[in-house]
Symmetry: C2
Subunit: 414 residues, 2 copies
């Protein structure tokens, strides 16, 4: 097995090949990768069983075991995911803008691959094939460093993907897995400037923080979502109840789930019991400010960390606010810049909320759960960026490209 340095060198060589790979070649490779997953399904499931067995012995929770587990159906879904990426338009080569300068120089801004992308992620083995497919579509080489729990599954998956790549005449090194899943290998990737063009961490807050703080390679920060919903004085109460219930309970473990409910004081007495009754259907624990606790006997007093943390669980922080300004100030202070929503019938407040909330996705009268590449019409995504540089929100295939200027002259000098 290659060490990380050798993998990096192989990746840079492969990236030079990928710069000029045609759409046809890349699509053929993606088709081959999808087919290779199906053909290799038995091997992948066998490897996954070993991962599951080891994880069970290590005491992994049932919820986590479920994330790790593959089945024939899940492998088919992974293959189908690759085929969907195959069907996307090829972003590379697009002339984003172009003009002729007064001196006759033809200036074109052309979309090109980023080059070599590093991904550090945890848990689910389907991220391995999703990320590989999206990176390849945009002409990139990817070095994947998954979690140690999934190493056998990931190895089997990447081995299948490599067979698909080679059949299409592209270097197998376009998709590489880091064999060493120790903390040291993650740290080593963060030091690979000049080799990696970007590093994308995907996982829990701890992983992301560590990468952001330590990486010398440019990072795209993903995913931590402390999402807020503000129920304004004029909100339609049924709508507010549906949206809060959906945003909190439809899938509490994901980053676009709501974590804090802010309610205008003029409507709190009426709204909170109604919303709380609905959330009780799913046994949602409420952690409230003093005024919420007065209204809701079932709420427990919130502590400072409840406003800050992403619960990723059936828990909701609740605060009564004086007005929109106090809601905006709370969000400015505690939000992670992922997704926030207002429920209101007031036009001016809706407009102010969309202007003044500085998050990747800002909603009026809709659930925060729509912050997702597919839901927003971007196709498959590699994560949700909560930073402002390069990509913000769901990261589709376009965010895995850069541009360069191509300038055609006939002897111009300055």
């Amino acid at each position: 097995m290659k060490n990380l340095e050798q993998q990096g060198e192989a990746a840079r060589r492969a990236a030079r090949v990928m710069m000029t790979a045609s759409t046809g070649q890349k699509n053929e490779a993606l088709a081959g990768m999808a087919q290779a997953l199906l053909d290799g399904c038995a091997d992948i499931l066998a490897a996954n069983r070993e991962d599951l067995e080891a994880a069970r012995q290590g005491g992994m929770s049932e919820a986590m075991l479920d994330r790790l587990a593959l089945s024939e159906k899940r492998v088919q879904d992974m293959a189908e995911g690759i085929r969907q990426v195959q069907a996307l338009p090829d972003p590379v080569g697009e002339i984003v803008e172009g003009s002729v300068r007064p001196n006759g120089l033809q200036v074109q801004k052309v979309r090109v691959p980023l080059g070599v992308i590093g991904m550090i992620y945890e848990a689910r083995p389907n991220v391995t094939s999703d990320a590989a497919a999206l990176c390849l579509k945009a002409g990139n080489v990817v070095i994947l460093r998954g979690g140690k729990e999934a190493i056998r599954s990931n190895t089997a998956i990447v081995s299948a993907l490599s067979r698909g790549l080679e059949k299409a005449g592209l270097p197998a090194e376009c998709v590489q897995l880091v064999g060493d899943t120790s903390r040291e290998s993650a740290t080593a990737m963060m030091r690979m400037s000049g080799v990696l063009d970007v590093l994308i961490p995907r996982g829990g807050a701890g992983l992301i923080k560590s990468v952001v703080e330590n990486s010398r390679v440019p990072v795209i920060e993903t995913g931590v979502g402390n999402c807020h919903i503000f129920v304004d004085e004029t909100a339609d109460l049924k709508q507010a109840t549906d949206i809060v219930f959906n945003a909190k309970t439809s899938r509490p473990s994901v980053c676009n789930a709501a974590e804090t409910l802010l309610v205008h004081e003029a409507i709190a007495q009426q709204a909170l019991p109604q919303i709380a009754a609905r959330l009780a259907e799913k046994n949602v624990e409420l952690r409230g400010c003093p005024r919420s606790c007065e209204i809701l006997s079932q709420a427990v007093p919130a502590v400072e960390s409840d406003w800050k943390d992403e619960f990723l669980d059936y828990i909701l922080a609740v605060r009564v606010v004086r007005d929109l300004d106090e809601a905006l100030a709370h969000i400015a202070r505690y939000s992670t810049g992922h997704s926030e929503a207002i429920v209101t019938r007031d036009y001016e407040n809706a407009m102010r909320f969309t202007r003044e909330v500085d998050s990747a996705a800002v909603y009026v009268n809709a659930s925060t759960r729509f912050t997702d590449g597919g839901e927003l019409g971007l196709g498959a995504e590699i994560g949700i960026s909560t930073q402002k540089l390069h990509a913000r929100g769901p990261m589709g295939v376009l965010t895995l490209t850069s541009t360069k200027h191509v300038i055609l002259g006939n002897g111009q000098i300055r």
Copy 2:
């Protein structure tokens, strides 16, 4: 004087104001800033004289003293630069794309300010007003940390700019200067994640490397340009000579100046003496590969570092290559990804060069000196990015923005 932490807090407050500042307000502020520079010219020149005096006593070279020196004319140019930024279209609020989803959600991708931008730079005091104007135009707050040699000039400039800002009703804290010019203040800025949205270093290779390696804040890497010109077998020799002469000697101290000349072996015997003769007009020192040295008696043998370094001086590295492939391999190995040019009459080689050279600007039959915001039609620039994330090449006002998704619904849940 505020410390850096207080400056950061003030900047975040100001950024919330700037999020909703109108185009009219920002343009009024820019006009006020330009006028305040003119009104404060005497103070600025007095401060600059003190900087110059201190620098002279410190033994600063004449070339550097010239970069530091201001005059009435230069202050007028700075004011004129601000007025040109004022005349640019306001990028903020543009709906970059929009669609209605099948469930009726209206999705808009809207251009917004980045927020708070940190700049660490050296030498020239005009960077202070240029950067302030561009950041403000895009609705950003900027924290400027210039070099210690220019601290008195920069203080006077920022004080004038603040007066202009306040007259227009915008917070003076939109443009802040870090008073402490020690290495520690630069390091402290690199730790300001959560406060700074991006950090832009502008200066020598050492400064940029240090920021890239140490910053926890997302960085846009600028400027180091080890630029190559490849003279192909079929090049028009007069054109090649003009382009090499221009790219090397029109302003050797800047990042888009050529540093290495690659010549196809079939034309080397004829081309090199001609190009060398022309470069001799400016006493350009040539550092050649063994074959170049055989052809050019005046060349000294190049060492490995000559292929790597940005000379920023009247020095050119020269290498004879077997063919385009060898030229591309040399560039892939030594280029900093800034600007490279081919001089050729061969269509296929021109196309291959533009596709296979992975740099911010790739030229056919033109001087590398055109890599500049103004020359490429982007307006004023805040630097030239040599990274692939977010911005690549000359960074105009658009690169100082981000986007957010605004999603307008009527009760949609998922």
